[in-house]
Every structure is written in C-alpha cells, then in structure tokens.
Symmetry: C2
DNA sequence: CGTGGCTCCTTAAACGTTTAAGTGATTATA
DNA sequence: TATAATCACTTAAACGTTTAAGGAGCCACG
C-alpha cells in the first residue's frame, strides 16, 4: 500500500505538506498542491482509513441496528428496502455502514460497546425492541442516533406516518361501503398504537362504532396467526365484510384462510394489508395495501444522521414524518 | 474511551505488559495477567479497532459485494437470505461486515480501491456481473475472496448446485407425465448455463427431445418478460403443458398471464419456479419450486472466507457445492 | 564464582495519519 | 531601516495499539 510518505519522498516535501495538500488546507501554494495531488493520483494513493480514524476519531462508518425478534432484520422485506435506500444515500456521502451486533470475539459486547469498539460516527436503529436496555444505552450515549418508527426524547426519528396511513386505508374501506370492518393488529409497540389510532379516527369520522369482537391481537409478519384469526372471524355469527391485517405478509395467511373456507376475494370478503411489499401488485386479485415510502424513510434517516454527525454542537432532535400512499388493488369490494 | 494506558497506570505496569496480558501472550506471570484482565473488565475496556488495524493490518472486517444490475442486492430476496446467514456466521467468529461500493468521498473508487481503503481482510462476491473488470481486479488481487454462484480460477467459491437442482425439478415435471415442457431461462451467466445443462440432462434421460420453440430467453426477477413469454407460449399452436421459469418472482408474472388468459393452474397449465422464496408456499396453489439452501450458502461462504483469511499461506481454492431441495407445491399437475 | 538460561517485565519503535507550533524567507508598514 | 505581517513550508508530537529487543533478577550448574 502506498502512503503519504511515498508521495512526500517523490515530491521532495514533508509528510505534513502532503497531508495538507490532499486535505485542501490553506497554507499550501497552488503549484505544490497541484504536484502533490497529481502524484497521489498517479501513484494510486488512497488514505488509510484506520490511521485517519485513529487520529481524528471519525471513521466515516455508520452503525446499523436492524434486528427483530427473529434476529432477521435483513430478511424482512420492509426493512431491507429501507436499509437499501439508507445505504445508497450514505454511500453517496462518503459513509460506509457496519452492522451493530453482539460480537463474540473478545468477550460478548453490548450494542454500545460494539459501537465504541468500531468507532462508528452514528447509528440508525430500527426493527428492534426499543425497550431493550441495551438499545436504550446506545440511544442515550453520546453517539448520534436516528431511530426509525420510534419516538425517543434523546434521538432524531424518522416516522412512517402510521396514523394517517391507517386512517387513509380505513377511510378507503369505509368509503367503499363497508361497516363491519375487522382489524387484526400487530405487536405492542408505537407502530401498532398509531395505526390503531388512525383506525379509530376513521371509524368515528364515518360514525361506525368499534366492536371489540372485530379487534384481534395478531402479530407482524406472521401468516399463521392471521390464518387462525381469519377463520375465527369468518365463522362467527356476524362475520366482517372486510379484514385489515397487520402487514402484507400476514395478509397472505388470511387470504389462504379465506380460500380454504371456499370463499372468494373480494366476492365474499374483502381484505387489506399494510406495507406495499413488491409482490402485492402481482397477486390475484391485486391486494389493496398502504404502501410505506421505504425509499424516503431510508434516505431521510441517512441525511438526518449525517447532519447530526457533522454538527456535533447544538444538537436538536428532529422528528421527520414520511407519508405513505394507498395502493389500490382489487381486494376490497365496492359495496354499492 | 478508556485505553491500555489507563489500565497500565492503574496496575502499575507498562502498556506493553497490558497488551500482552490481554492478548494471552506467554511471557506474563499468572497473577499479573489476572490483575490486568480484571482491571480491564472493571474499567470497561475495549480495544480500539482502528489502532489495532493500523498496527496489525487486520481489521476483522469482511467486505460484501452484493450488487446486481438494478443496484439492489439487498432488496433481492434470495441474496438477502444468503447475506443474513453470512452475517450471522461471521459475527459469531468476531468479524463484522462492510459493503464494498464505489465511494464518492475522496474521488470515485473502484471496488478494489475501496477494499484497500477500508482494509478489509477478505471479501465475498455475489449477485454481480462477474465480467465487470472492476470485479475481476478485486478477485485477482491479494485480498482473499469467496465467490457465490460463480467459478473463478483465483478464488474459492460456493456454488448452489444448479445442474442437479434443475435436473431434479425437471425430473419431477417429467415424472408427473409432462412431455411438452417449456423453459424460460435467465440471463447469460454460469447459473443459467448450469440450469440449462440440468434441464437437458433430465429431458434426454426421459427421452424427450428438446424443441427450440419451448426455450425462451427471459430475465431473472422480471415478471414482465415472463408474462409476455407465457402468453406467447400459450397462444402458439402447440402450447406446452408445463412452463419452468427463471425464478419464483418471474414465475408470478407467468401466473398472471395464465390467469389473464382465463386458464387455471394446474388445471390447464402447470408452472414451476426456482429459488424457494418464502411466499411460494403461501400462494394458491402452492408453487412448486426448487429451494436453494440459502442458509448453507451464506454460512459456508463465511466459514471458507474466514479460513482463507486466517491461513494466508498455501492458499488453495475450494469449490463448495450446496444442494437444493424440491419444494413440492401443487402447481404441477400429475398427468396420470 | 562466573556463566548460562530462565522468567517476567520495560523500552522504544512502528503503523499512517493529523495538526499545533515553529521557522525562514519574502513582502508590507511605519 | 527596523519591525511586523504573511506565506509556505517543516518539525514533532500524538492517536492506541503491537512487538522486537533489551534488561533485571533469580536459579542452577560446572
């Protein structure tokens, strides 16, 4: 590997001069800078990121904490879309990303310890149990953090607008003439809370009263439980005419339950999902869902995090809300 | 951040002694080692990875080059599964991962330059145009590399057994009584070549001659082209009774074409895919596909790469073949 | 008692950067 | 002409490790 020393020898200047020239410092004459930059290019020089990090305490590395209960943040379609967008944006700004985990090498590390070990400049946290004390430790540390889909007093956040989103979706269902609307909601967290709020808002705006038997606790990304709940709902005395699911993947479980009962969609029962995963549009019937803007979420999280990292003083936390968009399929029947 | 200096002061020894104690070197007395290790634990010490990397030229960071033509290696279900498994395995062995890209900060870098800049110990390459000269540069460098689904004379490789896999799948189709079998194959690369070989092998073993009009060049992960090709095939004079697709996602396009022609699956035409993505089993009908063992692929790639990294001498390249498994759905009709 | 060989520790240099402080030369100011 | 300011560079220390080389103390042996 070729270093500044090599360039300095070739150019007949000191290493410090090389450093300053390459970093565009002011006290270097134009010709010298030219010479040094050209020689660097010719010799194929690239800075050694470890040395630079050691000296400056800046790694240009951002940590990513994307772990769900199943330890599979990556296989999660929604989050891999967000991550991809995040990654593209950080890379365009000269940052690389590193996954934060509980590394086993030296001895098990907490998330915070691992972050310090790798010296990341900042971290994005998503798809995680925000009540985990290890996660709290990281957020409350001096490392800049941006959370996704979770409000926290000590971090900026990018929030997919679940209240408006669920309201929009429910409005659409109501406006299609449905009155008996079931909602299988997800695990106990901010996202679920907000969607429930949107759901309630919409119902009450449409003067529909909320029947508890139409509200079932389900799970995110779990077709099995959606399957069960759907069967229960449809074999009850007063089956709903439409069922909303925690997400698109769970909805597939519901869809199968409907088929297994020899009912048709949307002929006999309507269904709606959430997320807008790429396969919903190619399903038959195309599934109606609320598409979250994963690209915007990832991008804004990246830009906000970089902004936090690069202005270490007067840290103010921002809350960035990203709206979704109704993806109208044909799985919700128009009842008029 | 607390450093070795802090520990050395607290223990009244030199920094070198601390280093040796923590690294389990031999020339340290048992009591001293105890003292140092305990103090380190108490003080919450963790090594500074940049300093260590600078000195040892080992970062315990592995590069990941997962970019397909659409720049979306992460959103690609198959590869995100492989990556997840790779990541889990490397983390268990004390390695972190970093994405290799063409970083824009200093000036645009090639893959190899970026790899050197970050000082990765090794790299895994997949989902990439292996003919790209930048990729070749990286493989032919002195950085240990493991490729996935591509043979290369200068690297170990983990190969999903596409020959056997496609043969198995085609055997199943033939054994179900089909004789008129169309195959929409993917882009021009090793994977496609091998699958075609398996396809031919199976047909000739079943004494079925290959009709060129049943072989169509399609694209991976492209429902659109699969849709078009399927319509063509089914509206021809002698439509096939079964169509095999490049992958599961493309198959969905075919499925829609069949539905749009008011035909049923598998009543009127059978279809089969490749990959075994998680939604194939929840489709109606469940889709028959050849599931690639993404978990094994990721894990073996990680272990092989780490082995290469940790034994820098006598480099021998291994070729690790991972078998798939037929996932029998109900999309291929039994014709007897 | 001198030599050699342990054992356990320290010294010091090095890895490739950045940067505060210093220096000599030139130019501007009074 | 003396002094100050500016410019363009160099020196040297520092970041936190690792590691070769060195050395003090002790014991054993001839």
């Amino acid at each position: 590997m070729i270093s500044m020393k090599d360039i300095s020898e070739r150019c007949g200047v000191s290493i410090a001069t090389v450093s300053k020239a390459l970093n565009n410092r002011s006290d270097i004459s134009a010709p010298t800078r030219e010479l040094i930059c050209n020689t660097a290019r010719e010799m194929g020089y690239f800075p050694n990121s470890s040395a630079r990090a050691l000296k400056t305490n800046r790694t240009y590395n951002l940590g990513v904490l994307f772990v769900d209960a199943a330890r599979s943040g990556l296989k999660h379609n929604y989050f891999s879309q967000v991550l991809d967008s995040f990654k593209v944006t950080t890379e365009a700004n000269g940052y690389d990303i590193t996954f934060i985990n509980v590394n086993q090498e030296f001895h098990p590390m907490t998330y915070l310890e691992h972050s310090r070990y790798r010296g990341i400049d900042g971290a994005v946290i998503a798809c995680v149990d925000f009540k985990d004390p290890q996660v709290a430790d990281l957020i409350e540390s001096d490392i800049p953090v941006v959370t996704i889909d979770c409000d926290h007093p000590h971090a900026s956040s990018v929030i997919s607008d679940n209240i408006t989103g669920m309201r929009q979706l429910t409005d659409y269902i109501c406006d299609s003439g449905h009155r008996k609307i079931a909602y299988i909601f997800g695990d106990d967290n901010d996202v679920t809370k907000n969607r429930m709020e949107g759901f309630r808002e919409s119902l009450s705006a449409h003067r529909i009263s909320l029947s508890p038997e139409y509200l079932l606790r389900g799970k995110y990304r779990d077709p099995e439980s959606a399957y069960q709940h759907t069967k229960e709902l449809l074999s009850a005395g007063q089956p709903p005419t439409c069922i909303a699911y925690p997400d698109d993947y769970a909805m597939i479980g519901g869809l199968n339950a409907v088929f297994d009962l020899n009912l048709s969609i949307p002929g006999d029962v309507s269904i709606a999902g959430y997320d807008g995963l790429n396969y919903t549009t190619v399903f038959r019937p195309p599934l109606t869902t609320l598409k979250q803007d994963t690209e915007a979420i990832g991008q804004k999280a990246a830009l906000e995090l970089i902004a936090q990292v690069e202005s270490p003083h007067r840290r103010t936390y921002n809350r960035i809300v990203v709206k979704g968009r109704l993806l109208e399929g044909a799985s919700v029947k128009k009842l008029f």
